[in-house]
Symmetry: C2
Subunit: 233 residues, 2 copies
Amino acid sequence: MVRKNAINIEIEKVNFKTMVEVVEINLLEFLKNNSFRPGDILPSEVELATSLGVSRNVLREALSRLRMMGMVESKKRRGMVLSSPDILGAMERVMNPLIIGANTLKDIFEMRLTLEMGMTDILYIRKTKKDIDELEIIAQNEKAKRVDEVFRIKNEIDFHGKLYQMTGNVTMQRFSNLLMPVFGYIANLEKIPKISAVSHLDLVHLLRSGSREDFRKGMRTHLESHFAKLQKK
Amino acid sequence: MVRKNAINIEIEKVNFKTMVEVVEINLLEFLKNNSFRPGDILPSEVELATSLGVSRNVLREALSRLRMMGMVESKKRRGMVLSSPDILGAMERVMNPLIIGANTLKDIFEMRLTLEMGMTDILYIRKTKKDIDELEIIAQNEKAKRVDEVFRIKNEIDFHGKLYQMTGNVTMQRFSNLLMPVFGYIANLEKIPKISAVSHLDLVHLLRSGSREDFRKGMRTHLESHFAKLQKK
DNA sequence: TAACTTTGATATGTAGTACATAATTACTAT
DNA sequence: ATAGTAATTATGTACTACATATCAAAGTTA
């Protein structure tokens, strides 16, 4: 390949893809274009490799990525089958606040606030007495315990985690579990004020006998310190 | 290995991990335990392979996964450096409504509703006249165009996509872009009613001169048909 | 004939070798 | 001292080999 000038060189470098990356893209395209569905059996590794014109090595490195996402499962002799990917699986592995960029951390924190402000409607559709009772127990526990920093964060995670669980939306719940470490990390950095005008226990009572609007406003007040911080920037 | 009974066999099968999976976990642990930070240089492939007791082949299949997440970047001779992962990258690749499980699709759809109900506060912090003007143009466009099903979905995506963009949260915006195909897919299946009590244009006006509460209620009414469907189940 | 056993074939999983390529370092000659 | 060149090193790709699990078919026994 001839390199004509600096600009071309730059473009080449930016656009340069290893064969593994290319094969990964081609595989995804192949599956989409041929309308593969979960349960369908893929061609064997050697077939794929030869038809893509790469070594089995490269093909397997690309397949390894699909396997990580749960999109491909394989058994010896039976071959590979396409399956429903686990859309959060990959995220769960890399969710380490220490290596994620600061901007992304901020974004994630805001998403958590957004989800909790928006969960009211679904919460009111799915809430049960049993769940509210359990939530109340969590909220009461924190009063009993020592007002320790570590415990406080744990309580915060327990309480809000229970709320997510009450939505009956397992994907949202798992997503929130990813967000929690980030919350803990930021809470630790920023030393969030210890008291809010609306406590967890207040929220429980609102959820039990208040209107949707009441609960939403309560949640907004409960999260006020976080929103105030956003406003400053 | 002795197989005592059916239960043990089952347990063995569930817990069975390939060496690639084990190495992937070990690598992530290794990086976490040794406090690697973005920019740090990893040991060479041969060093890692020998220290983990596997072939370079297996190691590279595991590394390929980290590379996919953007967690590892490598240049010839220079070696591999740890970098900030792209937490949504993997999700973007597998977000194909046709292969994602029905339950997950439902969850994703609910998350979209939750985010849009919860985005009000951040929207009011970040909104600018310029953005609202642009949003209005989008809302007006849809009146001009033919009330075609395909166009309707496109408009819906344009409008709500613009809202996400207005939050200034690129992660949330990217996330919403993932949700949109799912929305389109479900909208196509369920034949969502064409008119809502609160139109896009109404929302624009609320956002421009109404209070937070006004906008939130407007959005709730705008999404009513979706919430009504949730209630039935 | 039916049930069971054995054997063979096949696809994935892992290891190892080889070599190309890019980039850094060391060396050499002027 | 500096420009140019050679050696070094780590990744990227290819190929071979073989172990292992599993399915299928052939063969065997009751």
